[in-house]
C-alpha cells in the first residue's frame, strides 16, 4: 500500500518557494470565514430549506429499476442476444480458469505447493522473503483452513494475472501518452472510489454468481493500481537516456522494448505487488457472490461463529503480508541501480534457477507418488487458536471491564460532540448555503477549476435526490478525517524523527490495511455500541497509517541544508520541527489529508453494512432488497462526494500540477 503514497509524496516534495499571502488571504483564514458564515445561516434557518423536490429528478429510480428488469429479461430470454452470450461465455471461462488453478494446486499436493512457494521465494526474493512464504504456509496449515487458503490463492492467481494482462499494457500507454493518462485517470478514480457493493448487483445480473463473478469484481478494483504504477514507472525513465537511444537511431518500439521497459522493471514489479494487495482486499466481498475460500469463511462466520471469521481474517492478513514481502523483495532485487551482474554471477544465478526448478518438480513427483493429499489434514492448532480468539471476543463482549468503560465513553463522546453536531450542521443548514460554502472553500484551498468541479458534483448529488444522505455520510467522513489527521500527523512526525518508531509502524500499517474491515467491525461494535462509531473508527484505523507515512516522508524529505541552517542559528530540535520542517512539509501534509479523506470515505461506506446511516447504508440496502435504483443512485452519490471532497482538499499546487495551468 505504501508505493502509491510514496509516489504521491514524491510529486509533492516541499519547495522553498512557499507563497507569501497576507494573513487575511491565507487558506485557513478564508476557510474559517466561510464556515463562520455557514454557521450563522445554520443557527438562523435551521432545517428550513432541505433540498427541494422541484430540483430532484424523481423518475430516475424508476428508469433504473426498469433497466434492471430489462436486463434480467434479456438474460433469461429463450435465445439470449450475442452480448449476453458473450458475458456468459466470459464468466464460464473465468469459472473454469479458477477451477483449473484450484485443482492444479491440489494436484501439486500440499507439500509440493509449500516447497515450490518457499524455494521460488528464496531464489528470486532472498532468505527473508522465503521465511515469509514459509510462515504463510504454516499459518494455512495451523489454522486448519488449507483448502480455503488454496481456493483464495487460485482466485487471486486468476484475478491478478488478468488484471496485469489488462493493466500493464494500458499503463505503458498511459506512461507514453499524457493525453491518454488524463483521459483514463477519472475512470480509474471511479473504479477505486465506488464501493464494490455497488457493482455486485450488475455483475451478478450480467455474469451470474460464482468464482467468475468474483474475479470480475476483484479486477475492477485491482486494475487501477496496475495501470497507475506502470505509467509512473515508464515516466520515471530518465529523459536523457531515452533521447540518447532515439539519437542513435532506435525506433520508438525499440526504445520501449530495450530502454524504457527494462529501466522501469522495478516499478513494473511493484505494480504487481500493489495489484496483489488490492486484489486481496476484495477477498471478503468476493465471498459474497460465490467466490469460495477464506472470504466465504469470513462472511458466513460473522453470523454464526465470529471467532472463525476472525481466524480466517488473520489468515488473509498473513497471506497478504507474505505476498507483499516476497514480491517487494523481488522488485528490489531487480533494481538496476543495485544490480552489478558479472558473467560469473549470472551463470550462478541461472544454475540456481535450474536447481530450484528441478527441486520443485522432484518434490511434487515424490509427494504424488507417496500419496500426499491435496490439502493439509493432520493435526492443526485450529481449536487452540479459536479458543484464544474466543476468549478475546468474550472479554470484549463483557460490559463490566475497564476497557469497555473507556471505549464506550469515547464512543459516546464521539457521537455527542462530533457526529451529531456535524451531521446536524451539514444536513440542516439551508442547502444553497452549504452548496456555495463548500464550493467557496474549494476555491480558497484548491483554485477555480477545483471549485467548478466541486460545485457540479454537489449539484449532481442533489439532483439525484441523495442530498441528505450524502451530507450525513460527509459528516462521518469529516469526523473520521479529523481523527485520522490528528493521529496520522502525530505518528508521522514521530516516525520521521525516530527510525525505531518508523520500523514499528510498518507492520501495524500492513495489518490494518489488509485485515478485512468486516472482521474488526464486530469487536468494535461490542466496544463502542453506538451505531455510527464503529464505521468511523474503522475508517480511522484504515486511513491513519497512510497519512502517517505521507507525513513522515514529507518531514524527512525537508532538505538537510535548510535544517542545518536553522540549527546553526541556534534553533532547538523542537523549534526546527515546528518552524522549519512542518511548514516546509505543508504540501505533503495536505496530500495526507486528501488521501486520508478518500480512504476514510471508502471505509465509512463499508460501515453502512453495520449500520452507519447515509449512502453506504443505502447501497447495502439496495443490494439486500434487490432495489437496483436505490443502490445505483447511492453509489453515484458516493462517487460524486468522493470527487468533491478530493477537489476541496487537493490544494492549489497539486491541482495545478495535475490539471495544467
Amino acid at each position: 500500500m505504501s508505493v502509491i503514497a510514496d509516489a504521491a509524496a514524491a510529486s509533492a516534495t516541499p519547495s522553498l518557494l512557499v507563497e507569501h499571502r497576507p494573513w487575511w488571504r491565507s487558506r485557513v483564514t478564508l476557510t474559517a470565514a466561510i464556515v463562520g458564515v455557514m454557521l450563522v445561516c445554520y443557527f438562523a434557518l435551521k432545517a428550513e430549506y432541505p433540498w427541494p423536490a422541484s430540483l430532484t429528478w424523481n423518475s430516475l429510480p424508476t428508469y433504473l429499476n426498469d433497466f434492471q428488469t430489462w436486463l434480467v429479461d434479456q438474460r433469461n430470454a429463450e435465445s439470449p442476444s450475442f452480448v449476453i452470450r458473450a458475458f456468459n461465455g466470459f464468466a464460464e471461462f473465468l469459472d473454469s480458469l479458477v477451477e483449473w488453478f484450484t485443482s492444479f494446486l491440489g494436484w501439486m499436493t500440499w507439500v509440493g505447493v509449500s516447497v515450490a512457494g518457499v524455494l521460488v521465494s528464496l531464489r528470486f526474493g532472498g532468505v527473508r522473503a522465503s521465511i515469509w512464504a514459509l510462515a504463510a504456509f504454516v499459518m494455512f496449515a495451523a489454522s486448519g483452513l488449507w483448502a480455503e487458503s488454496m481456493q483464495t490463492l487460485a482466485l487471486m492467481l486468476a484475478a491478478v494475472g488478468l488484471s496485469l494482462l489488462v493493466g500493464i499494457p494500458l499503463g505503458v500507454y498511459a506512461g507514453l501518452s499524457t493525453r491518454f493518462e488524463r483521459a483514463v485517470t477519472p475512470v480509474l478514480d471511479a473504479m477505486q472510489i465506488i464501493p464494490a457493493f455497488a457493482y455486485l448487483m450488475p455483475v451478478v445480473i450480467l455474469f451470474s454468481v460464482g468464482p467468475g463473478a468474483a474475479v470480475i469484481t476483484t479486477m475492477i478494483y485491482a486494475i487501477p493500481p496496475a495501470i497507475r504504477i506502470t505509467a509512473l514507472g515508464i515516466r520515471g525513465v530518465p529523459a536523457n537516456t531515452v533521447e540518447a537511444a532515439l539519437a542513435m537511431g532506435s525506433t520508438p518500439a525499440q526504445t520501449l522494448a530495450k530502454v524504457r521497459l527494462p529501466l522501469a522493471r522495478r516499478m513494473l514489479l511493484l505494480s504487481v505487488n500493489q495489484t496483489i494487495l488490492f486484489a486481496l482486499s476484495m477477498v471478503v466481498i468476493a465471498g459474497l457472490i460465490g467466490g469460495k475460500g477464506l472470504g466465504d469463511v469470513v462472511t458466513s462466520g460473522l453470523n454464526s461463529y465470529p471467532a472463525l471469521a476472525l481466524l480466517a481474517g488473520l489468515v488473509i492478513v498473513v497471506m497478504a503480508m507474505a505476498l507483499d514481502r516476497v514480491t517487494e523483495s523481488v522488485a528490489e532485487r531487480t533494481n538496476p541501480a543495485r544490480r552489478h551482474l558479472t558473467d560469473e554471477r549470472r551463470r550462478r544465478l541461472r544454475l540456481a534457477s535450474v536447481a530450484t526448478g528441478i527441486a520443485v518438480i522432484a518434490v511434487v513427483a515424490v509427494s504424488r507418488l507417496l500419496g500426499v493429499g491435496a490439502d493439509y489434514s493432520r493435526t492443526t492448532a485450529r481449536d487452540w487458536l479459536l479458543a484464544r480468539i474466543q476468549s478475546v471476543l468474550d472479554y470484549v463482549q463483557n460490559p463490566d471491564t475497564a476497557l469497555f468503560r473507556v471505549t464506550s465513553w469515547i464512543g459516546d463522546h464521539i457521537v455527542q460532540y462530533g457526529l451529531v453536531p456535524f451531521r446536524n450542521f451539514l444536513v440542516e443548514t439551508p442547502w444553497p448555503v452549504t452548496l456555495l460554502g463548500i464550493t467557496l472553500i474549494s476555491l480558497a484551498v484548491s483554485g477555480r477549476r477545483s471549485a467548478i468541479t466541486t460545485f457540479v458534483m454537489l449539484a449532481v448529488i442533489g439532483v439525484i435526490g441523495e442530498w441528505a444522505s450524502a451530507m450525513d455520510t460527509a459528516s462521518q467522513v469529516l469526523v473520521a478525517t479529523v481523527l485520522t489527521v490528528v493521529i496520522g500527523l502525530g505518528l508521522g512526525v514521530w516516525a520521521a524523527e525516530s527510525r525505531t518508531f518508523s520500523r514499528i509502524l510498518r507492520p501495524i500499517n500492513d495489518v490494518l490495511q489488509t485485515l478485512p474491515q468486516l472482521v474488526y467491525l464486530i469487536p468494535l461494535i461490542y466496544l463502542m455500541p453506538v451505531s455510527v462509531v464503529p464505521g468511523v473508527i474503522a475508517g480511522v484505523l484504515y486511513a491513519f497509517p497512510v497519512v502517517a507515512r505521507l507525513v513522515e516522508n514529507g518531514v524527512r524529505n525537508v532538505e538537510a541544508n535548510t535544517v542545518e541552517a536553522a540549527e546553526s542559528f541556534g534553533a532547538t530540535r523542537s523549534q526546527v520541527l515546528r518552524k522549519v520542517k512542518v511548514p516546509l512539509a505543508q504540501d505533503a501534509i495536505m496530500l495526507g489529508v486528501n488521501q486520508g479523506i478518500i480512504m476514510v470515505l471508502a471505509v465509512v461506506v463499508i460501515g453502512g453494512l453495520v449500520g452507519s446511516p447515509g449512502l453506504g447504508y443505502e447501497v447495502a440496502q439496495g443490494l439486500a432488497r434487490s432495489d437496483f435504483g436505490l443502490g445505483v443512485l447511492a453509489s453515484v452519490a458516493i462517487l460524486a462526494l468522493g470527487i468533491a471532497l478530493d477537489r476541496v482538499t487537493r490544494g492549489a499546487r497539486r491541482a495545478q500540477l495535475e490539471e495544467g495551468p
Partner: protein, 329 residues
C-alpha cells in the same frame, strides 16, 4: 535404473485394479437400490442465518445417507442474485425464503417457469417489537404500544438525544418500523445498526447489563432460547395492512399502522431440478419441520459451535419418525 522405472508402472496397474474393483462395488450397491433412480448431485443454498444452516445440513444428511446423493452447498446473497443463480442452474434448492420470491422483480422467474414455489417449509416466521423480559416485569405497561407511550424516554441512548431509541433490524429484512413509530405518534428515534450480528451485539450487550432496550426481532431464532424476550403488542391487523415499507405505495402511511403478520416461509426449487427425476425431489417436496426443530439444531451449531454435520446427525438420529415421513416411507 530399470528397476525404479517399473515401480510407477506397477503402482499404476495397482491403482487401475483398485478403480475397477471400486467401480464394480459402486454399481453393485446401486443395483441393490434398483427401485430408485440414482440421485446425482443436488446443490442447496445456505442463507446467512443459523436457522438456514440447520435446514441445509439436516437435508444434506438425509439426502446423502438415505439416497446416496452428492450434496453441494452454495452461500449466495438472498433475493435476485440467488434467483438468477438458480435460473442459471448453479443452485437447485432454496429451503428458506422469507417471501423474496413474492417481490415483483422476482416473480418473473416463477412466471417464466424457471423456478417453482413449493410453499411452506413448516416454519412460521413472525416479526415484532421486543424488550427483555426483565424489563417487561419492571414496566408491565410495556405489554402494549399504548403503554409504551409516555415511557419512551427509558430507552434513551447516545444516538437518540432526548427521544427513546428503537433499534431497527438488519436493513435487508422486511420492516416498516420508522413508519409505524410515526403513525403511532411515539417519541422514539429509529436507529439501525445494520447487519444482524451488529444488531445482536447491541441488544445482547444491553441485556447483559440489564439495561432497557427496545428492538426489532423475530421468531424462530435460536437466540430466543438463550435470551428471555417479550413482545410488545402492536395495533391489530386489518385487511389492507402492509408489512414492508415501499415508497411506491405513496405517502399515506396509515397502511403500515398495524402489527406484522405471520410469514409463511417457503421452499423454492428450479424446474430443471423438479424434472430431473431424482428421488431427492420428492424428499424436498415432503420436507417440513417446526420452528422448534429448527431452533434445536441452530442452537447446537451457532450457540454451541458444534460441527453442522454432527448437529444434523444428532437431530436425525433423535427424530427417526419425522425423517421417515420425508422419505415417503
Amino acid at each position: 535404473m530399470s528397476k525404479s522405472g517399473t515401480r510407477p508402472v506397477r503402482l499404476a496397474l495397482l491403482a487401475l485394479a483398485l478403480v475397477v474393483v471400486g467401480a464394480l462395488g459402486v454399481s453393485a450397491s446401486a443395483f441393490g437400490r434398483s427401485n430408485a433412480k440414482s440421485c446425482g448431485t443436488v446443490t442447496l443454498d445456505e442463507n446467512a442465518w443459523a436457522g438456514a444452516t440447520a435446514n441445509v445440513y439436516v437435508v444434506k444428511y438425509v439426502l446423502e445417507k438415505n439416497l446416496g446423493c452428492e450434496v453441494n452447498i452454495e452461500k449466495l446473497p438472498e433475493s435476485t442474485p440467488l434467483f438468477q443463480a438458480m435460473a442459471d442452474g448453479k443452485v437447485d434448492v432454496l429451503l428458506e425464503d422469507w417471501n423474496n420470491i413474492q417481490l415483483k422483480v422476482n416473480q418473473k422467474y416463477v412466471k417464466s417457469g424457471q423456478l417453482i414455489d413449493l410453499g411452506s417449509n413448516g416454519v412460521i416466521g413472525h416479526i415484532g417489537w421486543f424488550v427483555p423480559t426483565y424489563l417487561m416485569k419492571q414496566y408491565p405497561q410495556l405489554k402494549t404500544w399504548q403503554g409504551l407511550k409516555g415511557k419512551e424516554s427509558i430507552f434513551k441512548s447516545p444516538e437518540s438525544g432526548s427521544q427513546g431509541m428503537f433499534l431497527g433490524g438488519d436493513p435487508s429484512y422486511v420492516q416498516k418500523d420508522a413508519q409505524l413509530i410515526k403513525q403511532l405518534g411515539l417519541n422514539l428515534k429509529f436507529v439501525s445498526v445494520g447487519a444482524e450480528p451488529a444488531q445482536v451485539a447491541r441488544w445482547s450487550q444491553a441485556y447483559k447489563q440489564k439495561k432497557p432496550i427496545l428492538f426489532y426481532w423475530y421468531t424462530p431464532q435460536y437466540l430466543n432460547t438463550a435470551y428471555q424476550l417479550s413482545e410488545i403488542k402492536l395495533p391489530a391487523r386489518s385487511k389492507k395492512c402492509v408489512d414492508s415499507y415501499n415508497p411506491k405505495l405513496g405517502s399515506n402511511w396509515s397502511i403500515y399502522r398495524c402489527a406484522y403478520g405471520q410469514t409463511i416461509i417457503e421452499k423454492v426449487i428450479t424446474s430443471k431440478f423438479a424434472k430431473s427425476g431424482s428421488p431427492a425431489v420428492g424428499v424436498i417436496k415432503r420436507w417440513k419441520w417446526s420452528a422448534n426443530d429448527q431452533n434445536t439444531v441452530a442452537n447446537l451449531i451457532a450457540g454451541k459451535h458444534m460441527d453442522p454435520e454432527k448437529a444434523a446427525e444428532q437431530w436425525v438420529k433423535a427424530n427417526p419418525g419425522k425423517v421417515k415421513a420425508w422419505l415417503g416411507k
